[in-house]
């Protein structure tokens, strides 16, 4: 990039620091107040405690919601991985305009605002008389994360050299064997990073879930319900735990994401 004069450089660093503060400040405040109290406009530095965490463990509603979220996330990840891989293989191995249209359809729920994806599914389920439950939530999440998984796997598939596959076929492997022993191992890290990203998205999905869920709630919905009552330490504790979990997941995902070579 162009070498900037020092005022330019300072300005740009300041903006970056400000954005970083905007992005992480709120999270830090929440984490901080999971350990400390705030009384009469002052932080009570001696109030450090883990009470909020202990209280959390007794809250059955939250534990149930966490269970639901994990079940939904795992199911959505499995479904979107299977479908995403199949669609990527289909796109990669077929010709013509049809595959482009299919791709557009797959991308739609990811590009549209979640409210539209959620509402269209809500109306759809009602029209076919399908009761809303965790199953509908899984369908909603799968539809939403599919584009991301598909894109990730397709990108890897396209870097795969055709000669590898030809060699395998030449050596007498059938199509399934070629897929199993050549294609799949090469896709493994792409599949893994896609799975982690998809899980993180599903774990956090709020808008679609809100529209397609039945009586059961996932963690974000539960949090939303709790927040209407106000700012309590146990919400902060929950927030801290969730953030710790997401950060770990993201770090693992980053490890396997393919970084384009710097020029």
């Amino acid at each position: 990039m162009i070498r900037l004069s020092w005022p330019g450089r300072v300005a740009i660093w300041l903006v970056a620091a400000f954005v970083l503060l905007l992005l992480y400040g709120p999270l830090c405040v929440a984490i901080f107040f999971s350990f400390f109290r705030f009384k009469s406009n002052q932080v009570q530095w001696d109030s450090f405690s883990l009470d909020a965490y202990a209280k959390l463990m007794e809250n059955q509603g939250i534990i149930d919601a966490l269970g639901n979220t994990l079940v939904v996330g795992a199911s959505a990840v499995i479904a979107s991985l299977v479908l995403g891989t199949l669609f990527a293989l289909y796109y990669h191995n077929s010709r013509g305009r049809g595959r482009e249209w299919l791709q557009v359809i797959i991308f739609m729920p990811f590009l549209m605002p979640p409210i539209l994806t959620g509402l269209s599914l809500l109306i759809f389920f009602r029209q076919i008389d399908f009761d809303r439950s965790l199953v509908t939530v899984v369908i909603g999440h799968t539809v939403f994360v599919l584009a991301l998984v598909y894109r990730n796997i397709l990108a890897r598939l396209q870097t795969l050299s055709a000669t590898l596959i030809e060699a395998s076929l030449d050596l007498g492997a059938n199509r399934w064997q070629t897929f199993r022993f050549i294609v799949l191992p090469n896709l493994a890290t792409a599949v893994l990073s896609a799975a982690i990203l998809a899980f993180a998205l599903s774990f956090d999905e709020t808008l679609i879930t809100l529209l397609v869920t039945g009586t059961k709630s996932t963690l974000p919905l539960r949090l939303w319900a709790m927040m209407r009552l106000g700012f309590t330490p146990d919400i902060n504790a929950l927030v801290t735990l969730i953030l710790a979990g997401t950060t770990c997941l993201c770090l693992i995902a980053a490890r396997y994401l393919t970084v384009p070579q710097a020029r």
Binding site: I2, L23, V29, P113, L169, L223
Partner: protein, 300 residues
């Protein structure tokens, strides 16, 4: 046709007599591939478009085609005013995210080697961190009784808590900007990365100042990233209904909230569907024009 491709074609050529079978299998595979996306994406979208032409009488949906819902939207100022305001709000969010995101993306692009990807990751990771938690945290900071006010009061900088930061459209604008900034950073960063460095050197060699090089080379070439980022932020801001509900209070009533209320308290699905169709049209317009604009006209 490359040699590779022609080889593959030859290898894929079916033995005599198998042609029909293979073709049929191809059609079968295509049909299988289309089934699920059509059933769970296309059909639901069509269904809600159809539903927008029905209407509600009492508590039942009457399945007779009518334009009443659309007429209601275009004649009742409550709806089209809110719609206009929400579009402006979403535009404001898009502008703010780009203004904040561009310098960050620029900084990232000017960092060297692997560092830039690590730092980029730090800026983008909050996208995966709980959306609802961030709204909640922002509200707890900005609120009349919130963290920011308490600090300012404590420091003696203000005498009374600021109340203009929460439960109004300002708050919605601020919160959405914070939430959506990464969506602007990422595409701008990618666009900046693609600019061949020798163009910048050539420009400097030919005597252009840093500002001139930026104005005439970097900015035009990164504009597609700006457009993609801005349209992402616009679309997501326009469709959001939880953020306005959490921080918007009574005055922060946006289009997304109106749509959502049609499916909840107001219980008028066909009208909600009609409003969603209008939202969908605006979103498609934004996305299509972004895609048009973002098509590369210059390739390195």
């Amino acid at each position: 046709m490359t040699a590779n491709e022609s080889l593959r074609r030859v290898a894929a050529r079916p033995a005599r007599g198998e042609g029909g079978l293979r073709k049929r299998r191809g059609a079968l595979v295509s049909a299988a591939a289309w089934t699920l996306p059509v059933a769970f994406i296309l059909v639901p979208l069509l269904l809600f478009t159809v539903q927008s032409f029905f209407q509600v009488e009492g508590t039942d949906i009457v399945y007779r085609l009518t334009l009443k819902n659309y007429v209601r939207f275009f004649t009742d100022p409550t709806f089209y005013d809110t719609f206009g305001w929400s579009c402006l709000l979403a535009l404001g969010v898009a502008v703010l995210t780009v203004l904040l995101g561009y310098p960050v993306a620029y900084l990232l692009a000017s960092l060297g080697g692997r560092t830039k990807y690590v730092v980029a990751f730090i800026f983008v990771i909050p996208l995966l961190m709980s959306y609802i938690i961030k709204i909640y945290a922002i509200r707890s900071i900005l609120g009349g009784n919130g963290f920011l006010n308490r600090i300012l009061l404590q420091l003696g900088l203000i005498d009374e808590p600021w109340t203009f930061l929460v439960f109004n459209l300002n708050a919605v604008l601020l919160t959405l900007t914070v939430l959506l900034v990464p969506f602007a950073i990422l595409p701008i960063f990618v666009a900046l990365e693609k600019i061949p460095r020798n163009l910048l050197e050539a420009s400097a060699d030919l005597g252009a100042s840093a500002w001139q090089t930026f104005r005439t080379i970097v900015l035009p070439l990164s504009l597609q990233g700006v457009v993609i980022g801005a349209s992402c932020a616009f679309v997501l801001a326009l469709g959001d209904f939880v953020t306005p509900q959490m921080v918007g209070g009574v005055s922060g009533f946006t289009f997304g909230r109106i749509i959502y209320s049609q499916f909840g308290t107001a219980f008028n699905w066909p009208f909600g569907a009609a409003l969603s169709v209008i939202l969908l049209l605006v979103v498609l317009l934004a996305l299509v024009s972004a895609a048009r604009f973002a098509r590369p006209r210059f390739t390195a």
